[in-house]
């Protein structure tokens, strides 16, 4: 099986925000109440949790996929500390750290801006845009949601939907994305329901 470790590494370029390191395994996430990255969520379909991530954060992190990380993906970011980057790529020395810093006094508009910059950096793309930011309840508190659109090196357009809130000075976000042509829509209802009813347990 190690001969395909090489093709796995090739796929790292295909993964969206959270990539896979070679030979990543997945664990089954059954459709029931789940504790993940300082959230409690109740998915109505089975998902697959990535056992190894290539990004770091001061927050607890998790990444799920339904159909494969190149096709759709849910990222759980459970509590980014004030003054720390929302995400950093492991092994990246290129100044990502300073540029993607979350501050607790950020408005939703600024947090979404930050997310645009994060997607831009992580996917090395220039086309990343959020839209339709709306206030909404998230995790039992006043938060916001937003839509997203981006295209990276593989030239596949992807759509996204994020829910977030700042609680006790920490950022909590769940972001679902998938290929615009098919896989985003395929699991959107399940993902959205899960995000709308998520609880923050941090």
């Amino acid at each position: 099986m190690t001969r395909f470790a090489a093709s796995l590494r090739r796929l790292a370029a295909v993964a969206i925000v959270l990539g896979l390191s070679a030979c990543t395994a997945y664990s089954l996430v059954p459709p029931m109440a789940n504790d993940v990255a300082n959230f409690r969520v109740e998915p109505d379909i089975a998902w697959n949790k990535a056992n190894k991530l290539r990004v770091d954060s001061s927050a607890a992190l998790a990444s799920w996929t339904a159909d494969g990380p190149g096709l759709n993906n849910v990222i759980f970011i459970g509590g980014v500390k004030d003054g720390t980057p929302v995400l950093t790529v492991q092994g990246d020395t290129g100044g990502t750290k300073d540029a993607l810093v979350f501050r607790k006094d950020m408005s939703p508009s600024e947090i979404v801006e930050l997310w645009e910059a994060a997607i831009t950096k992580l996917n090395q793309t220039s086309i990343a845009k959020a839209s339709n930011i709306q206030p909404t309840q998230f995790g039992g508190m006043p938060g916001f949601k937003f839509e997203f659109s981006y295209t990276n090196k593989d030239e596949v357009e992807r759509s996204g939907l994020g829910y977030a809130a700042v609680k006790d000075g920490r950022l909590y976000m769940i972001f679902y994305s998938g290929t615009k042509l098919h896989h985003y829509g395929l699991r959107l209802a399940s993902a959205q329901k899960m995000m709308e009813t998520a609880q923050i347990r941090g």
């Binding site: 099986m1 093709s7 295909v14 089954l28 190149g70 096709l71 030239e155 596949v156 042509l181 098919h182």
Partner: protein
């Protein structure tokens, strides 16, 4: 009309997922298949052990492979039309481009998650369920075809010519000893966008820079293509 049987062909250097052994067709005619642009990349194994893509070899391989696929299909009695950029027209251009790119991602996802046990997606429970989605109908409109055939091949050779088992590597360019020519052929049902047949090829011989090598690769790739 579709004999939905999940068959995994074992043995040899190909491994097939077969959701159907026959293709839909209108009464009395042959199945219509559009051959999508070949996604092929040949690389050279440098002295340092790194891999770098060779555009000229790639080009040659594509030409030979296309010819080889054409003769293969002739023996299989299917009507095949070759994809042409210009046929999409303004209305479909974007969708068709995205379909091609998306299939690349789907195909690679299948290679990893369906064929490599450690990378399996437990939620799928061993089922073969992959799709580019109903937007594939656009291809049906343009080419009047019921299916699209995608071919993807990655291979590498030493700069002195292919001698023994060659090396396959990822974009990272790491040489893995005992590597292979890696490829797949994928048949997509255009009404739904579902992948109804997928054949993975993995072998250590065969030189795509010449016609014979391309012929044998094409034969392997299209073995057990639904009729």
């Amino acid at each position: 009309m579709i004999a939905a049987a999940l068959l995994i062909a074992l043995g040899g250097c190909t491994k097939t997922h077969q959701l159907t052994t026959t293709m839909n067709r209108t009464e009395g005619s042959q199945p219509q298949v559009v051959l999508m642009p070949l996604d092929v990349e040949l690389s050279v194994l440098g002295a340092s052990g790194g891999l770098e893509p060779r555009a000229d070899w790639t080009d040659t391989a594509k030409t030979y492979l296309l010819e080889a696929i054409r003769s293969e299909k002739a023996s299989k009695q299917i009507d095949m039309v070759v994809f042409q950029d210009e046929r999409a027209g303004a209305a479909y251009q974007d969708v068709v481009n995205q379909l091609i790119k998306l299939h690349g991602v789907v195909g690679n996802s299948i290679l990893i998650h369906q064929y490599i046990q450690e990378a399996a997606l437990p939620s799928k429970n061993g089922q073969f369920e992959w799709s580019v989605g109903p937007s594939a109908k656009a291809l049906k409109e343009i080419y009047k075809s019921d299916y699209a055939l995608f071919v993807w091949v990655r291979d590498s050779y030493s700069s002195g010519g292919r001698v023994a088992l060659m090396v396959i590597a990822a974009a990272a360019g790491v040489g893995v000893p005992g590597g292979q020519q890696l490829g797949f052929a994928s048949l997509v049902e255009l009404e739904t966008g579902n992948v109804v047949w997928f054949n993975r090829l993995a072998r250590g011989t065969g030189d795509l820079r010449n016609a014979d090598g391309a012929v044998s690769t094409a034969q392997y790739l299209l073995a057990q293509l639904p009729k």
